[in-house]
């Protein structure tokens, strides 16, 4: 089996369509004839926010309750719009493209419908170009690749060469994994310990079965905080890694652009007041703001 994205057909056509859509959206802003635009959301009193069901620290289920940075941010955005948030946590598809289809514009085949806003969406030009039914934006967090180390095993400022003799844990098939397996033509392969669930990696790290744990900084920070481990996170030279940071933002329906603008203003306020940083800290996560546009 394989992920269901595959063919990136019609790129050029989509680009033209996007351009046309922006114009159409601008025109209809004046007339207010959008499907579930801001007015309708506000009138309904509820902003429907969708994120992942198992994606700590951003969203996860804790004894039946939805928790995480996305959950708190969703509530804060709704509050700024003067309404309530309905938070829906959904499982992930094989690729983000599947989630955009299920959560933003078409809805899952098995029912449940779309949301007004999906969170934890990577902001990436190629991704948005191949999903023209959604608008991507409102970046609120920068994900970074980092390494948690046990300095007594790796030394305080290790390079990746140390894992020729020490073990390092990583989540399967992530960019970190890819980097570790290809490092110097595969010299580390026998010392890379793979896991599928982040909790499993944290457990190995806590037990010092591995000297280091590589992955997304926010995820590492929360896992370590949960396990009560206080160790340094380092960002050593990663020459050759294909992606060492990316932005998390939001996606909404192509025909609900005014909602996107209102949410942008809300996020700006939540960030400026320091609330977003406080939310992150609740989960043991250092707030990493998206860098200003170049």
């Amino acid at each position: 089996m394989r992920p269901a994205s595959a063919a990136l057909q019609n790129k050029h056509v989509d680009f033209l369509r996007r351009g046309a859509a922006i114009i159409a959206a601008l025109c209809s802003l004046a007339t207010g004839s959008l499907a579930r635009p801001l007015d309708e959301v506000v009138a309904s009193g509820t902003l429907r926010v969708i994120s992942y069901s198992d994606n700590a620290p951003f969203s996860f289920e804790d004894q039946g309750a939805a928790r995480g940075i996305d959950v708190d941010l969703g509530h804060a955005i709704a509050r700024e719009l003067g309404i309530k948030a309905e938070i829906v946590l959904r499982m992930q598809g094989e690729e983000v493209d599947d989630d955009i289809r299920a959560n933003v514009w078409r809805g899952p085949l098995t029912g449940g419908g779309t949301g007004d806003l999906m969170l934890s969406v990577p902001i990436d030009r190629a991704l948005s170009l191949r999903n023209p039914e959604a608008v991507f934006g409102n970046a609120y967090f920068q994900e970074r690749i980092a390494v948690a180390i046990h300095p007594d095993l790796t030394g305080p400022n290790p390079t990746f060469d140390v894992f020729k003799t020490q073990k390092i844990g990583v989540r399967l098939a992530t960019v970190s994994d890819y980097f570790l397996l290809s490092y110097q033509d595969g010299v580390l392969i026998n010392n890379v310990s793979h896991h599928v669930k982040p909790e499993a990696g944290a457990k190995e790290f806590a037990a010092k079965e591995i000297a280091a744990l590589m992955g997304v900084r926010s995820e590492l920070e929360m896992q370590l905080a949960r396990a009560g481990i206080d160790v340094p996170l380092v960002e050593p030279d990663m020459t050759g890694i294909v992606r060492r940071d990316w932005l998390l933002g939001m996606a909404w329906k192509e025909n609900s652009r005014d909602l996107g603008y209102a949410v942008q203003a809300a996020v700006e306020k939540i960030r400026a007041s320091g609330e977003l940083e406080r939310i992150c800290r609740t989960y043991g996560v250092t707030y990493m703001p998206p860098p200003p546009p170049k």
């Binding site: 089996m1 394989r2 992920p3 269901a4 994205s5 595959a6 063919a7 990136l8 057909q9 019609n10 992942y52 069901s53 198992d54 994606n55 951003f58 829906v88 959904r90 499982m91 992930q92 598809g93 094989e94 690729e95 983000v96 599947d98 989630d99 299920a102 899952p108 085949l109 098995t110 029912g111 449940g112 934890s120 969406v121 990577p122 990436d124 991704l127 994900e143 399967l172 098939a173 992530t174 960019v175 994994d177 890819y178 397996l181 290809s182 595969g186 392969i189 026998n190 010392n191 890379v192 310990s193 793979h194 896991h195 599928v196 997304v216 050759g240 294909v242 992606r243 990316w246 998390l248």
Partner: protein, 587 residues
């Protein structure tokens, strides 16, 4: 004699209700094992455990098939018109089918009237990878058992459609689902067992074959497909699959994939269960040098213990996503107990089914670019330039070198089952001719995070067809004839003693062709695409033929040039049943 008692009760019930409901006897394990020999019922997926999909019935034959006409049709109803991939089962005048969204029905085969319907309550928001299909159920005792999109096995009373037991295969929240028809297998130690694989699951989860008691769903044994993992028997660890690290580097065996998402077959002569295993993880084959057993393989399992008797790997160190799940069909090859399988990778394999020894292998599609051929042990002779490149070695470090590989990852043959006729000694293979641009792509996104993946674009090879029904001679490797089809073939095949081969097309036609020449003798437009295998049985002296019609499955999800051949197809959801009319007007 439980069956007699039940029969009596059933009749009494029917009388009291004043309905002409058929009398239903229990399905014994002997009935299941002998299914291929009994023409008046269809008790197993594959019309017999061996999976030949052959019926000796010849009342409908080359001379009269042109008069075949609908007896009845039944709608699967509602707004739930998605792909229908189930093979019907028939027993005592009742047909049992499953449909999209994990639904099941019992139907009176004389009238086409529904006897009961079971709607499984699916959790909201689950995301099965490839449509919401189901491939059918199994009959045993007084139960009809099938698997659901939220990864549960549900045993229903065959009489009432009421739930007898349910069992979770695995957690649907971790992406597991179940779509294949379960297999019923006799054992001395545990009685009849229900044998299934697993489908879905997070990337890297280990495929496994599991056997359960049919009475309550209790797990008896489990056999992981990837070497280094321990199996279980009667609640205890049994033996390790293969040898840890023999063909996997580092700890990649721990997350090696090898999903068993298509059903298995059973051969009562050798008492072996045959299952296939899917592709290995991660995508990029350069990361896992070695054969990566038993990903992309067929394995033969002893149902008494769950031990692997033999394995045969079709695509070692897979780099093209050639899942090895396609069905293994047992047949007699001039006195040799053989099996055959038509792989995603474009090669047709004939193996000794007692020991898995390679007898011969040959292409069943016109073009194969990733391998020059097979060596004397059946291992592919790779074309190194046709392996998708390692992104780490590319100039910009971003995207591995793109290659055009044939077949595409959707395979020379996909899930649609082939048929074998002991009469013509030919296999009838629903094949597809297509290729793909493939590259290892370091950045895709999964659950908000950057992952490495593979980029695919499916391409056609011929202007006029993708699908091709091929008559394959397993003794010589010759393609005796082929019937081309514009759209990709996605339904299965049935062949009969009447010298006919039945199969459906996405364009909606159920066709009957001559089993020696491929000449089309009959076709009927069912109104929506056919992606399910037809069946036949004898009912009160008449030969009946049934197939589900309802376009869907994985093909509509794939874009590019393939989309053009299927974009005008309409959704549907019907069971069609045909027979020869007793009287024809004007006679």
């Amino acid at each position: 004699m439980t069956s007699w008692k039940l029969l009596a009760t059933a009749s009494a019930c029917a009388l009291s209700l004043g309905l002409a409901s058929p009398s239903m006897a229990d399905v014994s394990i002997e009935d299941v094992v002998n299914d291929a020999k009994s023409a008046n019922d269809v008790l197993t997926s594959g019309l017999g455990g061996q999976g030949q999909r052959y019926s000796p019935l010849d009342a409908v034959n080359k001379d009269n098939v042109s008069g075949l006409a609908p007896a009845w049709a039944m709608s699967l109803g509602g707004e739930k018109m998605r792909g229908q991939q189930a093979q019907p089962l028939v027993k005592d005048g009742v047909m049992y089918i499953t449909g999209s969204y994990s639904r099941a029905w019992a139907i009176d085969v004389k009238t086409g009237r529904e006897l009961w319907q079971y709607d499984h309550r699916l959790p909201e928001g689950i995301l099965p990878c490839c449509d919401v299909i189901n491939r059918g159920g199994a009959l045993i005792g007084d139960k009809f058992i099938f698997g659901t999109l939220d990864a549960k096995l549900v045993a229903l009373s065959a009489k009432t459609g009421k739930v007898v037991w349910t069992k979770e295969i695995d957690d649907y929240k971790a992406g597991y689902s179940y779509t294949a028809a379960p297999l019923i297998v006799p054992t001395k130690a545990h009685g009849p067992l229900l044998v299934t694989g697993v489908s879905g699951g997070e990337f890297g989860v280990i495929g496994r074959v599991e056997a359960r008691k049919v009475d309550n769903g209790e797990l008896v044994w489990s056999r992981p497909t990837i070497e280094g993992h321990m199996g279980t028997l009667n609640g205890k660890e049994s033996t390790m699959t293969g040898k840890k690290n023999e063909t996997w580097p580092g700890d990649l065996w721990k997350t090696g994939g090898g999903a068993t998402w298509l059903g298995g077959t059973y051969d009562d002569e050798t008492k072996l269960v045959f299952f296939g295993a899917g592709n290995p993880a991660p995508w990029n084959s350069h990361m896992r040098p070695g054969d990566n057993k038993w990903s992309c393989s067929r394995i033969a399992i002893d149902p008494e213990t769950g031990e692997i008797k033999w394995g045969f790997q079709t695509t070692p160190n897979d780099g093209w996503d050639f899942d090895g799940v396609n069905e293994v069909v047992s047949f007699d090859l001039d006195g040799t107990k053989a099996v055959a399988t038509a792989d995603r990778n474009g090669f047709f394999y004939v193996l000794n089914r007692e020991n898995g020894k390679f007898i011969r292998g040959f292409p069943f599609v016109e073009k194969i670019t990733w391998a020059k051929g097979l060596d004397e042990n059946g291992k592919p002779i790779y074309v190194p330039e046709n392996r998708p490149g390692n992104p780490a070695k590319s100039a910009d470090g971003k995207k591995g070198e793109n290659v055009f590989a044939v077949p595409s990852f959707l395979g020379g043959k996909n899930q649609q089952p082939m048929a074998y006729s002991p009469k013509t000694k030919l296999f009838y293979v629903p094949a597809n001719e297509w290729g793909m641009d493939i590259h290892n792509e370091p950045v895709t996104y999964k659950q908000g995070a950057a992952y490495l993946g593979a980029g695919f674009t499916i391409k056609t090879i011929f202007d006029d067809h993708i699908g091709a029904l091929k008559a394959v001679d397993p003794a010589t490797g010759k393609i005796v004839f082929q019937v081309n089809n514009k759209a990709p073939l996605w339904g299965g095949v049935l062949t009969t003693g009447g010298g006919l081969v039945f199969y459906g097309t996405p364009e909606g036609e159920l066709k009957a062709i001559d089993d020696t020449t491929g000449k089309e003798l009959w076709s009927f437009n069912t109104g929506s695409g056919i992606v399910a295998p037809p069946v036949t049985w004898e009912q009160d002296g008449e030969q009946m033929i049934s197939v589900l019609s309802g376009w869907g499955g994985a093909v509509p999800l794939w874009g590019g040039e393939v989309a053009k051949t299927v974009s005008n197809l309409n959704q549907g959801g019907m069971v069609w049943t045909f027979k020869l009319p007793k009287k024809v007007a004007g006679n």
